[in-house]
């Protein structure tokens, strides 16, 4: 079972491709982070995944179904959209009633418990809630319909650091409780680092890399050593990013094998370094023809 399976997926707005040639397989049972700079196509991909957009190229299936194809498919997927929209004129209790009326699998007791736990006033109009509370309300709606996959589009983008942390830890608690798969997007790696065990880097409207977080960390290294032409590296070492001074080269490489050349000092990358390396590679636009590598554990 895959949570999301895209193949050759593309979406165009007038002349510009917001997402192109996106092939991706996110396994179920994971908390997958979708990271990339603003405008990279994250929202487009997620909106395609919930059926709010229709693709202009390729296909996408979510939990083996066509996104938004019917009530059953909609019931399987919970979605918290960007800026966590809620009805400003409806109260918190009205939102729960809305969820109850529109979702056959609605867990009213859970929703009620969560609202109490968050100390939201049921009578309060949603328009008067703070950004963090709105996000929590939207998350409550998405969780209480008991989806098998939860998709969140930049849920914490508008929150302050404290609310961000609270929202994410709360999300993780809920995920552990209900065993749902999660796909979560953010333009900040630090948001995802704590919660994700699977990572997709999207930049310049393409998937740069996708894979299990631990495997990604294990297969990427920073090599520091005497200045050297990257072309002379062994063929199993793929250079993601390189910088050179007169005497020294610093390379970020991807390889499945240990780096044995004693000339290099090998450093572990953290997730942020890794993502930034891929983003700047995409931003520099070189090596566009490089095939997207999928790293398996």
């Amino acid at each position: 079972m895959t949570a999301l399976h895209a193949s050759g997926l593309g979406k165009r707005y007038r002349q510009r491709w917001a997402l192109s040639d996106c092939s991706l397989q996110i396994p179920a049972g994971r908390v997958a982070g979708l990271v990339g700079p603003n405008g990279a196509g994250k929202s487009t991909l997620l909106n395609l995944a919930v059926g709010l957009l229709a693709p202009d190229a390729g296909t996408v299936t979510v939990l083996d179904g066509q996104p938004g194809s019917g009530p059953a498919q909609l019931a399987k997927v919970g979605f918290v959209a960007q800026d966590t929209p809620v009805y400003a004129g409806l109260s918190v209790a009205d939102h729960l009633r809305l969820g109850g009326h529109l979702n056959p699998g609605w867990d009213a007791a859970y929703a009620q418990r969560r609202i109490e736990h968050l100390s939201l006033d049921p009578a309060q109009k949603a328009g008067k809630l703070s950004g963090g509370q709105k996000a929590q309300l939207a998350l409550t709606l998405a969780l209480a319909k008991r989806p098998r996959l939860l998709i969140l589009d930049e849920p914490v983008a508008s929150l302050d650091p404290l609310a961000r942390r609270e929202f994410l830890s709360d999300l993780m608690a809920a995920v552990a409780e209900h065993e749902v798969s999660v796909i979560l997007s953010s333009h900040l790696v630090s948001d995802l680092e704590r919660v994700c065990d699977y990572l997709v880097v999207l930049a310049a409207s393409r998937v740069q890399i996708a894979g299990d977080v631990d495997a990604l960390i294990a297969s990427h290294h920073r090599l520091i050593g005497p200045r050297r032409d990257p072309a002379t590296l062994p063929s199993d070492q793929l250079v993601i990013q390189g910088s050179h001074t007169d005497r020294q080269s610093t390379l970020i490489v991807q390889t499945r094998h240990p780096v044995l050349d004693p000339a290099w000092t090998v450093e572990q990358l953290n997730l942020e370094d890794l993502v930034l390396a891929y983003m700047s590679q995409a931003a520099n636009g070189h090596d566009r023809a490089r095939p997207v590598l999928e790293v398996q554990r």
Partner: protein, 349 residues
């Protein structure tokens, strides 16, 4: 879904219901006294040759307090479709799209097609019900006036074919309401912003409501053409282009063909061949002194075999026109609704 539709719509529903209630009370208060005048004028009991009594009745209710209610009712029914299009239709999708809440609404376990179907169905029927109710009570209140005005309009009370009256009676307002509502929804879907969508909806509804009676309605059914030869004894007078021997004859007054309640397109004097060019004024008709006889002139005019040509829709076609108008607006509303579904599926993607 019905709960959500009601929850999001209840403010508009309450406001509209309040307007209808105020107006209903106004009609219920003034209706009985209007009925009283109807009976005491003798027109209520009259069954034939009532033109004189009808005129008297209309003259008696020419006082502002009836005429204002009469006009107010007409204005309300004319404005109602615009209100429905603006405040019920246009925001329905535009507000969701503008605020981004469509992402919330369409990710519950209800497809967006069903979401729209329920909203269109419930609110479309509600708008028709509101218009129908208004038309029904105004029609009841104004039924003596409409009957009298059919025999000849007096003091601002018009025949029921008169555009303003036609559009505020019977079943046509139901069609207008359905059309205006769905138009608002579609415009909201196209423009995606509430206030501009409301402005465009208002403009379009106004344009259609003005253009339809002028351009479309007269051509829905071919009118009846009725010509009678003007005889000397029927001639009561004439209209000329000016003084002097070269004056052109414009029209010959020969009484009216009796067509009570008809929608008269034209009532004109034409030559035997049907031309409106009647030629010069006959010599016998020039310089008739105060004591002169009109008879030679009558004979000279009759000798030219003028025809009085009446083009009209008989009163019996009233409900056919109502049904046609209702059907046309309802059909357009259904087409627009279909377009909304199509766009919802296609363009939002």
């Amino acid at each position: 879904m019905i709960w959500l539709t009601w929850r999001q719509f209840r403010v508009q529903a309450v406001v509209t219901a309040a307007i209808l209630a105020v107006f209903g009370v106004l009609l219920l208060v003034t209706g009985p006294s209007l009925g009283g005048v109807y009976r005491t004028s003798g027109f209520a009991a009259c069954h034939s040759g009532c033109a004189q009594l009808a005129g008297n009745f209309l003259a008696q209710i020419g006082v502002p307090h009836y005429h204002l209610v009469y006009l107010f009712g007409a204005v309300l029914i004319i404005v109602l479709p615009a209100i429905i299009g603006l405040f019920w239709g246009a925001p329905l999708l535009a507000r969701e799209l503008e605020a981004g809440t469509f992402r919330l609404a369409w990710n519950q376990s209800v497809t967006r097609e069903r979401w729209l179907a329920v909203k269109l169905g419930v609110l479309g029927l509600a708008s028709m019900a509101a218009a129908g109710l208004l038309s029904l009570i105004l029609g009841w209140w104004a039924s003596p006036i409409d009957r009298a005005a059919g025999l000849g309009s007096v003091g601002g009370y018009e025949n029921r074919f008169f555009p303003v009256v036609f559009g505020t009676r019977g079943i046509a307002p139901l069609g207008y309401a359905a059309f205006a509502f769905v138009l608002g929804v579609l415009i909201g879907l196209l423009i995606r912003r509430t206030v501009p969508a409301m402005a465009v909806t208002l403009g379009l509804i106004a344009a259609v409501q003005i253009a339809f009676p002028l351009v479309v309605r007269p051509h829905l059914i071919t009118p009846v053409r009725h010509s009678i030869t003007i005889t000397a004894s029927a001639i009561q007078g004439m209209g000329v282009s000016g003084p002097g021997p070269d004056a052109q004859l414009r029209t010959v007054f020969a009484g009216t063909v009796n067509t009570p309640g008809a929608w008269v397109y034209s009532d004109a004097t034409v030559t035997a061949s049907g031309s409106p060019d009647l030629g010069t004024v006959p010599a016998a008709c020039q310089n008739i002194g105060p004591n002169g006889s009109f008879q030679p002139c009558q004979q000279a005019l009759a000798a030219r075999n003028f025809q009085q040509q009446l083009v009209y829709q008989p009163a019996s076609r009233y409900w056919t026109f109502q049904a046609l108008e209702f059907g046309i607006y309802l059909t357009v509303a259904i087409v627009l609704a279909w377009a909304s579904f199509w766009l919802l599926r296609r363009r939002l993607s």
